[in-house]
């Protein structure tokens, strides 16, 4: 029976977390917005002061900003698509070998539990280093020569995408495997009796049934990709130059390497706006389809 006592009890239980959330997320956000309207230059303190929308105006004409925005889009889209495609394909294949699944689950866990910064470092040294890194060893053996995977601007972006995909595909794999395993077999048997081919069964039965899981994976991985930091930072630092400087990293470097916190804050606000916008669109797509 819902009454005053229950509501009071509920508030009592919820209040500490609510307070903590406001203090650690909402209040800082307000402060961030305020900071973005300031000019805070820790290297030249005498120039600090209120700057209004200067920072945002500057952004429009800042080529480095547009570069970072483009990189963010490419990075996010590519890694998410790869993760889902690879994860799904692998899950479908693994479905039919139930005995291998236990070992695979352990193998899949490993990339996920590692700290992204360590993963970045690891790839930078043991995997992608010229001459002695794993990849170079393989390409040399195959006669494709040695390359500077992280130092070459053209290859750096591909490399960091590979790193992120390597680490997080297992997540998509595990979730989709669980989703596929939970599908009722009789629907497929009915389809086979109805003479549907394997591809038709996949397209018309499997895919729609696991759609909710795919959507959730896409949403979660997109959020992570937008705010990916440590791995890229460890592997390339955003470089060479600005070749892997996604918006995230640009904001960081501006704030803490170049000590221009006001501008950095405005960049962060833009990133936040993008994140919120993307998540809003995704949730709308999700609920819209579910209702239909």
């Amino acid at each position: 029976m819902s009454d005053r006592r229950e509501r009071r009890f509920a508030l009592l239980l919820f209040a500490p977390a609510l307070l903590a959330l406001i203090v650690t997320t909402t209040a800082p956000l307000v402060y961030l917005a305020w900071t973005s309207l300031m000019r805070i230059d820790l290297s030249m303190p005498f120039l600090s002061g209120f700057a209004g929308t200067d920072n945002y105006a500057k952004m429009g004409g800042d080529p480095r900003f547009w570069n970072s925005l483009g990189l963010t889009v490419v990075y996010t889209a590519t890694t998410v698509v790869l993760q889902v495609a690879l994860g799904l394909s692998l899950a479908l294949m693994v479905l039919r070998i139930p005995r291998g699944q236990a070992a695979l689950r352990i193998a899949a866990i490993l990339p996920i539990v590692l700290a992204p910064v360590v993963v970045g470092l690891f790839w930078r040294t043991l995997v992608l280093a010229p001459d002695v890194g794993l990849v170079d060893v393989v390409t040399r053996a195959l006669g494709l020569g040695s390359h500077n995977w992280l130092g070459d601007p053209r290859l750096a972006l591909i490399s960091v995408i590979a790193i992120h995909t390597w680490q997080w595909t297992p997540f998509a794999f595990l979730v989709l495997l669980a989703s596929l395993s939970s599908l009722p077999p009789d629907v497929f048997e009915a389809a086979r009796i109805d003479r549907a081919s394997a591809w038709q069964r996949f397209r018309h039965i499997t895919l729609p049934l696991i759609r909710p899981a795919i959507v959730i994976v896409v949403i979660m991985r997109t959020m992570i990709a937008l705010s990916a930091f440590a791995a890229i930072f460890a592997a390339t630092g955003g470089g060479p130059g600005t070749a892997t400087e996604i918006l995230n990293l640009y904001a960081y470097r501006t704030s803490f390497t170049e000590l221009n916190l006001g501008y950095g804050a405005s960049l962060a606000i833009v990133l936040l706006a993008i994140t919120l916008g993307v998540s809003y669109v995704m949730f709308r797509v999700r609920t819209k389809r579910v209702v239909a």
């Binding site: 029976m1 819902s2 009454d3 006592r5």
Partner: protein, 359 residues
């Protein structure tokens, strides 16, 4: 009611006055009035969605009401918390605590009021023995069969010696045979304990056989209250009549005109007061119909041979009518026959309102 010498048997008088429950724009209960005597086994009977479970939950204090009052032993408990009403409930799903043993499940209500440990032990074993699960006390609910889980839920309710038992379709999760056996045991248990019991069910046979009195719920209202045999003999409306009995009462559209009853295209002379001219619904129980030389014309549609009884489905002027007999009738499917009934065995209801007409 035989008293067991327990103080609880004098308590447990329930009174519900004008209970209204709204769910947003939807009115679930339209004003329920009930009086239940101490020690009574009272059934709330009705189809799904008729409001009987909601009424029970309001009595338990688990659901709020939009209007009306609930009184227990003369005291207004409408605003009291469930834990303050001294009421025990057996849920349809039993709601056993899965992480506790059977013993701890039964002991839980006693522990919550700081009963001393020796008292708890004795009371739990007593309650368990009453429902024959005293050998299962160290098991967990997950290790019990459906019937055993149900008894555990019962024991948990009994152990508190509450002044009111509430049972929400406690037998619906059991298979048919177990249901029949448990039904009888429940009734005997209640008689032995003498505790007022309110029992919700959609199974009219169940309500009819075990309850002292029944309240028939239809669409959020009480259609009739009374002893099972009285309701059965004199249903107050066509809807109630159609709900009771197995197979249920046959209902046919008819007309009262100038002292005769016109039904299925023939005029029947019925030796009872028919009331004013007008459209009516005629109700006859399957057991009251018989194949006769004269009566309503019918064609045999289907014969269901149940072993000791036979049910004959007949097409009477486009309506399927069921007849029940213990003798095997000498007809075949497709035969044209006549069906008749004794004058006192028919019920008349107003066609539009469904209300009972006459005595």
């Amino acid at each position: 009611m035989s008293a067991t010498g327990d103080a609880a048997s004098d308590a447990g008088r329930v009174s519900m006055r004008g209970i209204v429950k709204r769910h947003g724009a939807l009115t679930v209960l339209h004003g329920i009035d009930l009086d239940i005597e101490p020690g009574e086994f009272f059934a709330l009977l009705g189809p799904s969605g008729s409001g009987k479970t909601t009424t029970l939950r309001i009595l338990a204090g688990l659901e709020s009401l939009s209007g009306g009052r609930v009184l227990l032993d003369g005291r207004d408990v409408t605003d009291r918390e469930p834990g303050e009403r001294d009421v025990a409930m057996v849920f349809q799903s039993y709601a056993l605590y899965p992480h506790m043993t059977v013993f701890d499940n039964i002991a839980f209500p006693l522990r919550m009021v700081a009963t001393p440990a020796t008292g708890i032990d004795r009371a739990v074993r007593e309650a368990a023995a009453l429902v024959h699960i005293d050998h299962l006390l160290s098991r967990r609910p997950g290790q019990l069969s459906g019937g055993q889980q149900q008894r555990t839920a019962l024991a948990r309710a009994i152990v508190r010696k509450p002044r009111l038992f509430l049972l929400d379709e406690p037998l619906s999760n059991l298979d048919a045979k177990l249901r029949l056996e448990t039904r009888v045991e429940l009734r005997k248990l209640q008689r032995a304990l003498g505790v007022t019991t309110v029992y919700v069910t959609h199974d009219q046979e169940e309500a009819m056989t075990i309850a002292d009195r029944v309240a028939v719920f239809m669409e959020g209202r009480i259609a009739q209250i009374g002893r099972p045999q009285d309701i059965f003999a004199k249903p107050s409306s066509a809807v109630v009549a159609a709900f009771l009995g197995s197979p249920p009462m046959n209902l046919l559209p008819a007309e009262v005109r100038a002292g005769t009853l016109r039904v299925a295209g023939v005029d029947l002379r019925v030796d009872r007061a028919l009331g004013a001219d007008g459209n009516v619904t005629l109700g006859v129980r399957p057991a009251a119909l018989r194949i006769a030389p004269a009566g309503m014309p019918a064609r045999v549609y289907l014969i269901e041979d149940l072993g000791d009884t036979t049910i004959v489905d007949l097409d009477v002027a486009g309506h399927i009518v069921k007849l029940r007999t213990e003798a095997r009738p000498n007809v075949r499917e497709g035969d044209n026959v006549h069906v008749a009934f004794a004058s006192h065995a028919c019920h008349l209801f107003e066609r539009d309102s469904g209300a009972r007409r006459g005595d």
